[in-house]
Subunit: 253 residues, 2 copies
């Protein structure tokens, strides 16, 4: 049984805590956060602390922290043989090189606190500073997921940018879609099947093949009739993405 | 048994043809297209024609045509009591008002010819010129889907714009994500679970609540480190959407 101290109480930390609850091989023995309010959700389940001098000794420290907080906290952790991991998509493994055993444990998923996720299908991108750390990381990841990828810091950075496009930016377009519907008293639910099918489709075929719509068809009448329905900010997005689609698919003609 | 003539052989027409294949209440008896090559996929299964003077008499004409072709073809259909429908998201029902019985049958989904869809969950937006047409339309739609919505021309136009945001534009962002991965030899498959979860999440909670990522966190270091990895065109999209997310979520602070 390997003991883990979890640093952080954000979306990733909360979901990791849930994921390892039923593990027989790994046990989260303590959760740290600088603010005590954030620890309330954990206090009945595990030891908690707001004091970096009271961190328990353990086999693994998981720093599931915002990038700037990560930089600060790691300075406060003294010399140790414990395997120290961070969970960030955009931070190089090297920020942890002061620790003999270090690595990265990056679950590639979007987490919201009040939405359950099934870790089993979540790709976990791992990277380790030495062979021994790699073995523990692989064991740790395999405990909750069947999709483990060894990804370098440079690749992870690129992957994180791609994830911003296909998740954060996509979610923003959903937000605009909901807003447009609300203005005409149309329930957003009517768009759910379209949203799901659009996502599902690109897991079966390349998105470049599955592009449809007025931009790809170069249907300027429809495009113009859409633009007049939109706010100035929405028009900017509509025009830029329409132009981008036409630039890409124009080459196919 | 009501007889249907289907005008068009594009994505929507192809999927409608498949959907009504096993119906006992509706039968597609003929498919029209101006180009004979496009009819080849149908010729073993149904009567086909490229000649508008040879259209069979039927109970329903479904014009599943591009908007500009629709405007032209309807001029060539003479006076008739047949229920004439179009399938366009962006064209008003009124373009068909020269026909005594007319309406709109708009399946709100993204169709690609070589990707099967399950019509049962596809919302079908209907609008009819009179009560009798409304009844037939409802019967026609209920035959293949359990989600029927009566939507006015004005609402449909708005819905179509929203659909462009949540499907066409979203698919374009998937395309960029794939491109970014390919440049770093990362398999796009690693992003599939994230894509699916991002979509699934907004069917359970509002997208405004499920927004995550560096733009929402106002993590300028990450944003800057992403921008340098992108092409000029990608930077434009990244900057505009990041700014939009910050404008929206900045208000929450």
């Amino acid at each position: 049984m390997k003991r883990i101290v979890l640093f952080g109480t954000g979306n990733v930390a909360t979901h990791l805590f849930e994921a390892y609850k039923n593990s027989n091989s790994f046990k989260i023995i303590q959760v740290y956060n600088h603010a005590s309010e954030s620890l309330q959700a954990f206090e009945d389940q595990v030891a908690i602390t707001t004091n970096l001098d009271e961190i328990l000794s353990a086999d693994i420290y998981i720093l599931a922290l915002k990038d700037d907080v990560l930089a600060e906290i790691k300075e406060h952790i003294g010399k140790t043989d414990t395997l120290v991991l961070h969970t960030s998509g955009s931070v190089s493994m090297d920020v942890l090189k002061k620790f003999k055993n270090h690595g990265v444990f990056y679950p590639l998923q979007t987490f919201s606190k009040n939405k359950e996720v099934d870790f089993f299908n979540i790709p976990i991108c791992i990277e380790a500073g030495n062979k021994e750390s790699a073995n523990i990381l692989e064991e740790l990841a395999s405990e909750i997921s069947e999709k483990i990828f060894t990804i370098s810091s440079q690749q992870r950075k690129t992957l994180h940018v791609a994830a911003v496009f296909v998740s954060n930016f996509v979610n923003y377009l959903y937000t605009e879609g909901e807003k447009i519907c609300a203005e005409s008293q149309i329930p957003f639910e009517i768009l759910h099947p379209l949203i799901l099918e659009t996502a599902l489709k690109v897991t079966k075929m390349s998105p470049i093949e599955s592009q449809t719509g007025p931009a790809k068809r170069k249907d300027q009448d429809v495009i113009n009739s859409h633009l007049v329905l939109l706010s100035e900010d929405q028009q900017k997005i509509y025009s830029l993405l329409t132009q981008s689609i036409q630039n890409l698919h124009g080459k196919e003609l």
